[in-house]
């Protein structure tokens, strides 16, 4: 469903994403982990069509993103890490705006779908309020509604849990599992190893722009040569070190 072929992104001589190759099958929730600055968001943005790769190919649903961008984006939903949306629209107007972009405006079931999504994400009572009055978490949930509105085949998600309360986080995990069960492929970057362990069927770890490990949690365990949870595996693979216990600064 998703194929990244020799994908590279350079910024002024710096290889933010360095020749990565990755394949994700249909209906899988694929986690994308890595330390800060590893290249996760850059990769995600290239897949969403927000950034242009320096080299390589992105194939989604059998179509090359560079050659058929509109067709690929029509079957893709993107949830970014920061919920910047149009503040002067109401929640309902924003979803209708998204429906228009995906040419769903005259779809007979659109109004029902909008209402259903707003109810699902517990935003129905805020549907006629301007987005500028929404909290960060509410905006994040509204963006999720927007990403699911056109029933995408592929969902690309960058840090979905940021700003969500525990109830919201549980809701999102449940929705992702349901979508995957219905055949939607979900490619998700996250800092939360618990979420990755709980939800993701396959995981890729990126560091300094390169994929250093990929597979199921068991595969990664074998590769790392450690037992235990994903945190230990992750830290071993990325050679994470605990901070030395620093002495407190003495006051003057």
């Amino acid at each position: 469903m998703i194929k990244l072929i020799n994908l590279t992104k350079m910024y002024r001589g710096l290889r933010a994403v360095d020749d990565i190759n990755l394949e994700v099958r249909e209906g899988i929730i694929h986690g994308f982990l890595g330390p800060n600055g590893a290249g996760k968001t850059t990769t995600i943005k290239m897949m969403a069509g927000v950034l242009k790769p320096t080299a390589g190919q992105i194939i989604i649903n059998g179509m090359d993103l560079a050659k058929q961008p509109s067709e690929v984006k029509a079957c893709t939903g993107f949830i970014p890490d920061r919920p910047f949306i149009y503040e002067k629209l109401t929640g309902s107007e924003f979803l209708h705006f998204i429906a228009g972009l995906y040419r769903l405006d005259h779809h007979p079931a659109l109004v029902k779908r909008v209402t259903a999504l707003l109810e699902l994400f517990e935003l129905i009572h805020w549907a006629d309020e301007l987005v500028e009055s929404y909290s960060h978490g509410m905006k994040q949930r509204l963006i999720m509604c927007a990403a699911l509105l056109h029933q995408p085949k592929v969902l690309i998600v960058d840090e979905p849990m940021v700003g969500l309360d525990p109830k919201g986080a549980r809701l999102v995990k449940d929705i992702f599992r349901e979508e995957a069960a219905q055949g939607t492929t979900i490619f998700m970057s996250t800092h939360s190893l618990e979420v990755a362990q709980e939800v993701c069927q396959e995981i890729a770890i990126i560091q300094a722009g390169r994929i250093i490990a990929t597979g199921t949690a068991k595969d990664l365990q074998k590769k790392a040569g450690v037992d235990g949870n994903l945190e230990n595996i992750f830290l071993k693979l990325t050679e994470g070190k605990r901070l030395a216990h620093a002495k407190p600064l003495s006051s003057a």
């Binding site: 969403a48 893709t76 949306i85 301007l130």
Partner: protein, 532 residues
């Protein structure tokens, strides 16, 4: 930008010098005119400073994102307040200083005062700035203590626009140009009383005017000392009062400003209006247009600019209605049509000025939400041309209203009416395309206020190219228009040689317009497609 700034300074200085030299040549009342002008300049700048400080203080003291860090730090409330106030003063005053200095230097150039003038100017201007800032800041603090800061911002923006529009219209309808034509007054007494400045001895503007005038007219030193003490004691009092008021109400107001704004969108009227646009466009473009219209009318800082635009159009037309054409030694019919021809350039410039405020920021107005369009199936090409198609009809209406109405007021020949209407019709396509294109080449998605987008390098480039575009059209059409007009006046047919000149000129105009539509949009499209 620096060169343009200096050029503007030079122009302001030259114009001011010219006016003052003219006043000096007017016997008896020349100095009175100069004194009156100086008073008006200070009164205007003082008013602008107060408004500017009100708006800037609201942002710097209540809405700025780094204020949370400041108030959470161990710094005293007074320290935070004073530091932000100093920043407010600097932020809101620099433009008034930039615009005012050439005028005040022109006075120095014409009247050749001693060094005391410059010393007085510096310290008295500083005191005026402090007083204006103090008044603006204390007004803001009181307003915010009564209303939530977000609501206060909208109120102040709206109020400012209404007052500026009102002052602008009032100033124009007072017809100050009569002051340079004493023949319009029956007697000297009537004329002199018309010169009396709307000023009061209790205002700082009166003190600085009198003090500087004393230096300019080489007056007595005692007056200067009196006004200096008055000014600085008032400035000190204003600072102290500000700190007292800040201690009492500033933090309460800041705390209130953290409340989120909750407002429902007004739908029904906009729905009707939007329905008109949906049909000719596809779903995706119709959604973009709908979003633009809703956002525009729900953002007070955007739609209130229409008030300024309305005032601009009214004054523009009014200027033409009061042109003293009958006083010109040149033949009337020739003059009317010559003005109508040059008016095309002026109207084109007005449209460019409107475009830089509304069309140039059209791409940037997506703000941080631009990723939505980048990740959607809507192509950049369709997006940019779709927005272009949306703005063209509005600008066509404005352009044609300006041209046809002014030509009607000038009572021009049918040929000139048709020529200028058609020229403006076609030029609008180029002006809008350049606005969209340059806006896409120089997008600014991170902004505090959409009005900031037009004031950068991209906006300046657009205005320059737009002026060049209109200038080229005028130059190319000037020759053929002259030939056609003179043929009409003489009652003689246009010769074949003359047609050989006329046709290529008009053809070149078409080529330039087509180029002005195609090239900026093409470059803008490429730039936006590559945007990261």
């Amino acid at each position: 930008m620096v060169i343009v700034g200096f050029a503007f300074w030079g122009l302001m200085f030259l114009l001011s010098t010219r006016v003052l030299l003219y006043f000096q040549s007017v016997e008896v009342i020349g100095d009175l005119l100069a004194h009156h002008l100086l008073s008006m300049v200070f009164l205007t700048f003082f008013s602008l400073l107060i408004f500017s400080n009100i708006i800037t203080a609201l942002s710097n003291l209540y809405l700025s994102k780094d204020l949370e860090t400041c108030h959470a730090s161990p710094a005293l409330l007074e320290e935070v307040f004073v530091s932000r106030s100093i920043y407010t003063v600097a932020d809101s005053s620099w433009m008034v200083i930039v615009f005012g200095l050439p005028i005040l230097m022109a006075y120095a150039y014409v009247y050749r005062p001693g060094p005391a003038y410059y010393a007085d100017l510096i310290h008295m201007a500083l005191a005026v700035i402090i007083i204006a800032a103090g008044l603006g800041i204390v007004f803001t603090m009181i307003l915010v203590s009564l209303f939530p800061a977000q609501r206060t911002k909208d109120l102040i923006m709206l109020l400012s626009i209404f007052i500026i529009v009102g002052l602008y219209l009032m100033f124009r309808f007072l017809r100050p140009e009569r002051l340079v034509d004493p023949d319009t007054f029956f007697s000297v007494t009537q004329y002199v009383s018309a010169l009396k400045a709307p000023d009061s001895p209790y205002l700082p503007t009166y003190w600085i005017t009198e003090m500087l005038w004393a230096s300019l007219s080489k007056g007595q030193g005692e007056t200067r000392l009196f006004y200096a003490v008055l000014m600085w004691s008032t400035a000190s009092a204003v600072v102290v009062i500000n700190i007292w008021v800040a201690r009492a109400i500033y933090f309460t107001g800041f705390s209130k400003a953290q409340e989120a704004k909750r407002r429902r969108g007004g739908k029904k009227i906009l729905d009707l209006f939007i329905h008109l646009f949906r049909r000719p466009l596809g779903d995706d473009l119709a959604s973009i247009v709908e979003k633009e219209i809703r956002t525009f009318f729900r953002d007070n800082t955007q739609w209130s600019q229409l008030l300024l635009l309305g005032a601009l159009v009214v004054v523009y037309l009014y200027n033409f209605s009061v042109l003293p054409l009958d006083m010109s030694p040149v033949r009337l019919e020739f003059l009317q049509n010559e003005i109508a021809f040059l008016n095309m350039g002026l109207a084109g410039f007005v449209l460019s000025a409107v475009s830089v405020r509304f069309i140039f920021p059209a791409v940037s107005s997506e703000g941080g939400a631009f990723w939505i369009l980048q990740s959607s199936p809507l192509s950049v090409r369709r997006y940019l041309w779709g927005k272009y198609a949306f703005y063209v009809p509005a600008m066509l209406c404005l352009g044609e209203v300006l041209i046809i109405a002014t030509n009607h007021l000038l009572d021009v020949t049918p040929f000139m009416m048709i020529l200028s209407a058609i020229t403006m019709f076609m030029a609008v396509f180029g002006i809008v395309a350049m606005g969209m294109g340059f806006g896409a080449i120089y997008p600014k998605f991170e902004y505090q206020n959409i009005a900031q987008v037009a004031t950068g390098f991209g906006g300046l480039m657009y205005m320059i190219f737009s002026a060049l575009f209109m200038g080229l059209i005028i130059v190319l059409e000037a020759g053929p228009v002259y030939i056609i007009f003179m043929a009409h006046v003489k009652g003689a047919p246009i010769t074949p040689m003359e047609w050989l000149f006329i046709i290529p000129c008009f053809f070149m105009v078409l080529v330039i317009i087509a180029f002005a539509v195609y090239k900026p949009m093409k470059i803008g499209l490429e730039a936006l497609s590559q945007y990261e």
